[in-house]
Symmetry: C2
Subunit: 429 residues, 2 copies
């Protein structure tokens, strides 16, 4: 089934905006970008008054945590995890994770995200949600060995490896995987020494939390007497297909190390603010040549999965962090949410160009809050929001048309998530 | 014309949420809140699945700057003002200000704001926009004497006084006024000495920018060898009907002084981030007993006028500023956007209770991004956005019903703003 997105303007990979149509071939790939008034296709999507942008890439999150949106706000990271989040996560059943991941999928499609990275558990249920929603994702099982005996810790890592093998290439190739040790300070050195080489021999990328708070770096230093960057690098964790979340408290040496190793960083500005984790040095990371992507983190620390918020937050917080209003300009924010995310996850999306998978968001730029239009890229970063997305396309398939979701039953997803969230909280009490 | 808002829940002044209807009497005031199934009214507004909240209060801004939304981003405050903003503002005609203020009114009504404060020029055109839109506002003429000769400086202050007298009580009493010296460092001491007492004798409140950047405090110190707080207080500027914008760089002594004088502070988190001005100590201000309100500032440094963004930004940035994730919780953010704004502006709005003017926003809480609902107040602060507002009511009059604006022609307003913005930028070039 071919598709023609007509009558709009297109955001090109160099961040220029031009009047153009986009044609999608039978294989779900973009086959032409330009004035295609004379071309036909099985279906068309109207993009008049709109800007066609690459489907956004949410490069770090925990989709099923939508169930805990607004459950426990306004608490510091550790207390929040230990007193509120982990007790409920401890009672989540596979069907709960399925319900939360479906709700996340609905929310992401409605706000123009077509690819997401997911670190969670009951990963098969996340994969089913991705397949049914029509989204693209790199998913994995998060490993924590802290507080576990050696056998349970090894089992957890084996699960992460098994899951990465099992689901890689699922959903017609839209699902890829990674092995996901939670963080250097929550996974024992001996397990990293054993399992990281096995993941790398299998060609599976790694994803983990890195320097989210100063305390985490202190925990590593107390044990190994080095910064987390050097510690992770010694264990071979910093590779060019590794991408790490947060990178808030990084030294200049660590920034250089990340750049040298080709390890990407996912900036999660809303989560870092809400948990008072700190301000990532996004401009310095970019200046050093580190690939920076954007992530929502879980909905419990955000509290939504709208990457338009993340673009705005990244541009704004990046200025504060640099003490420079010219840092992290609008173009950088848009680039991080598209190309940066694609590059971090090693996926050939994030750019509208012939040959690329047709992952697109069509953004209505005609709203009063987007008037006048001095600069459409500024609007994407600072003034547009997820609710301005009219159509969402992933792998050439229309997932949302004129704000109507075509792949999931929104009301049923909402009901199931509401019901399961309440039941899980009651079980945990 | 009486009005019944039925079938929803209501946010009460103590931040509790209860199932209740709201009835509005002929005088535009709330005459009952509760189970009013047996009462009738000339009109009804459906609030099922929704939360009725006080119309939001945008306590600092420059409405007509919507014309410059996205015109010059990613620049430091002074360069941005001098190279970009002031040259265009210098060529704005009354009809330009009218067009920009109308666009701002559309945007505010669509995002649940019913009251705003405005510091600009061509104030009569702002007043007309307020009257036509059906909004409530406290407006004034901003005075800058820096770079002006004495006569022009005095004329500017006389204009501010005359405008405050002329428009107070306009638009059926929905318009009130203030005298608005731009900032302590942009208005000469001799003029403040002359005109501030005249404003106070006339019973007109004062509004000005206060400690927005460290440089501004340094300019005062260089001239008067005191902190801006002591300087302003010596001149009588800090009164209990004064409200100041920003208050980013305030010392503990200045916080105590603001609390003692009853002077309110309008926190503008988005503007402070975008211009890299800094992080206001919102939790400390609140702890000291200072009334804190929220403001969008002008659209050029935001880039929208959606107070839901400001609530989220205030809660998040407040945590970073305090290095404490429990600072500025959701309830505080909602309180600042409603009661705080009303108290800062000295207007009897911001609380849904019998006898208060019926200024209401009906927020649809059924969206996927607001599911599940563990805590509706958390959703208001962290996950809802202006586009979730279904109906907006000001002074008992329905300004927006089911997202349809009833007082202004949105398409005409957009066209006029687009045309005038382009023409102004061309004239300034």
């Amino acid at each position: 089934m071919t598709l023609l997105v007509t009558g709009g303007r297109v955001l090109r990979p160099d961040m220029s905006v031009e009047r153009a149509d986009v044609r999608v071939g039978e294989d779900g790939r973009i086959d032409a970008v330009g004035d295609l008034a004379d071309r036909n296709a099985d279906r068309t999507l109207d993009a008049s008054g709109s800007l066609v942008v690459p489907g956004l890439v949410n490069a770090h999150g925990h989709a099923a945590m939508t169930l805990l949106r607004g459950y426990a706000d306004d608490k510091p990271l550790d207390a929040w995890l230990q007193e509120d989040i982990w007790p409920v996560e401890g009672v989540l059943e596979p069907a709960d994770v399925a319900a939360g991941a479906r709700l996340a999928a609905v929310e992401m499609i409605r706000s123009g995200t077509t690819t997401f990275a997911d670190m969670y558990f009951h990963v098969g249920d996340v994969a089913d949600a991705v397949a049914d929603a029509g989204l693209r994702a790199r998913i994995g099982h998060g490993v924590v060995t802290l507080g576990k005996d050696a056998e349970a810790a090894r089992d957890d890592f084996e699960t992460s490896l098994a899951v990465a093998r099992e689901y890689d290439g699922a959903a017609d190739g839209r699902i890829t995987t990674a092995v996901m040790p939670h963080a250097p300070h929550t996974v024992g050195t001996e397990f990293l020494e054993t399992f990281v080489p096995r993941a790398q021999e299998a060609g599976v990328p790694l994803h983990f939390h890195f320097n989210e708070t100063p305390a985490y770096a202190e925990e590593i230093a107390a044990e190994a007497d080095v910064r987390p960057g050097a510690y992770a690098d010694d264990l071979g964790l910093l590779a060019d297909d590794t991408w790490v979340a947060h990178g808030v408290h990084v030294t200049d040496d660590e920034i250089d190390l990340l750049a040298e190793r080709g390890t990407a960083v996912v900036h999660c500005p809303a989560s870092n603010m809400k948990l008072a984790s700190g301000m990532a040095p996004v401009q310095r990371l970019r200046d050093a040549g580190v690939t920076v992507a954007l992530g929502t983190d879980g909905a419990a620390s955000n509290n939504d999965l709208d990457l338009f918020d993340e673009m705005r937050d990244a541009a704004m917080l990046g200025k504060l962090a640099a003490d420079d209003a010219s840092a992290v300009p609008a173009e950088a924010a848009v680039e991080m949410a598209t190309q940066g995310g694609a590059d971090a996850l090693g996926l050939p999306v994030g750019r509208i160009e012939a040959g690329a998978p047709a992952d697109l968001a069509v953004v209505d730029l005609s709203g009063p809050h987007l008037t006048p239009e001095h600069d459409p890229v500024s609007h994407l970063a600072y003034a547009a929001r997820g609710s301005d997305v009219r159509h969402t396309v992933c792998d050439g398939r229309v997932l949302m048309r004129d704000r109507e979701l075509l792949t999931l039953d929104v009301d049923a997803v909402k009901r199931e998530a509401e019901r399961r969230a309440r039941a899980a909280v009651e079980r945990a009490a």
